[in-house]
Amino acid sequence: MMERPIAFTCSSTPARGITLTELVLAMAVLAFTFIPIMGALTTSIKGTMKDERVVQAINLAQTSLNTALQFPFDELASHSRAVLGGPASGPWTFGGTAQPAFQYPVTPGVNGLILRLGQVGTFTVDLAITDEPVQFTIQTYSPASRAADTTNDPTTWNWSLLTNYPTPAMTGVYHRYVLTVAWQDRQVATKTYCLASFKAKLVE
């Protein structure tokens, strides 16, 4: 009896998987890769937190100094003289731990100015106002000579030499404002940020 040929296919290629050794080695490589990445992430988080504090300090200083400059010229200095016992001719300092907010006018309405100094959140804001004597160098002319000039020649207006006016220097018309924001840092004891500006006694 003839055997009927049976046609069948038998795959003899074994499907190999990943061995345990390969798996362990791959996990070890990935773990070692993550060590410096985690270190970099930690450093970046610390740096971001530091920069955030700096940006907050800059914004707070900007806001506070802008508000202080909006007060009328001698308002803060006269408050220091009258209420806080500050010196007559400056410098006048504001801040410290228990500093009530300055208001203008005294009972401000909707558009009143409120300046907060001293402890503001985790920052300490101090303001120092000093009087800057003012003396200009000026070249004056003679109005009579100008009125008499018929040729419209400026050189005949009797200009003086450059002279310092007024003599002595004028005080009480120009103030320097220095605002300092301080906060505690983990690594450095106290960090500070300063802004300076000036304000003149101008006629509106």
């Binding site: 390969e22 920069d51 700096v54």
Partner: protein
Amino acid sequence: MKNSHSSKNGHALILSLVFAAILLQLAISYTGMLKSAHPQNILIDERVKMDFITQGLIEKSILKFQLFPADFYAANDATNVASYGPLVTSVYLNAFVNDPALSLINFTGANSSISSVTINVSIASMALLTRYRWNQEAIRIQALASYMSKSHGNVQKEQVRLIKINRIANHP
């Protein structure tokens, strides 16, 4: 029957190495981004400082104008006498503007633990603007500030302020 053996030994290791390389590259680029963020904060700080200091100096120039308005007007009128040329007639206005009191050289009053820059500010020009049509006058004051930045070299900033003025005669 042929037995073909295909070995996939080591594929897991190669894949993990590729992923590790990609992750390391991401970490390096992220660290690079943070490095550029820090100097921007310093830049913002320096710009803010310059803004406030130039504002203060412009106030001083307005004070000078308010104290000596006649001399300013005369100096300005002298500049407008065209027949003698700008070199001759602008000397009076230049003397008014180039006043040592209207400049701050090597100003370090705003230094702190975060930044210490030396800022130079001066008044560049004070120009009288007149609009006869509307019977209005204004002064345009231009201040120039400069400082040496660690990251950007010499930085210059210009600030302009325009104020409306009214002439009031004080003679009887």
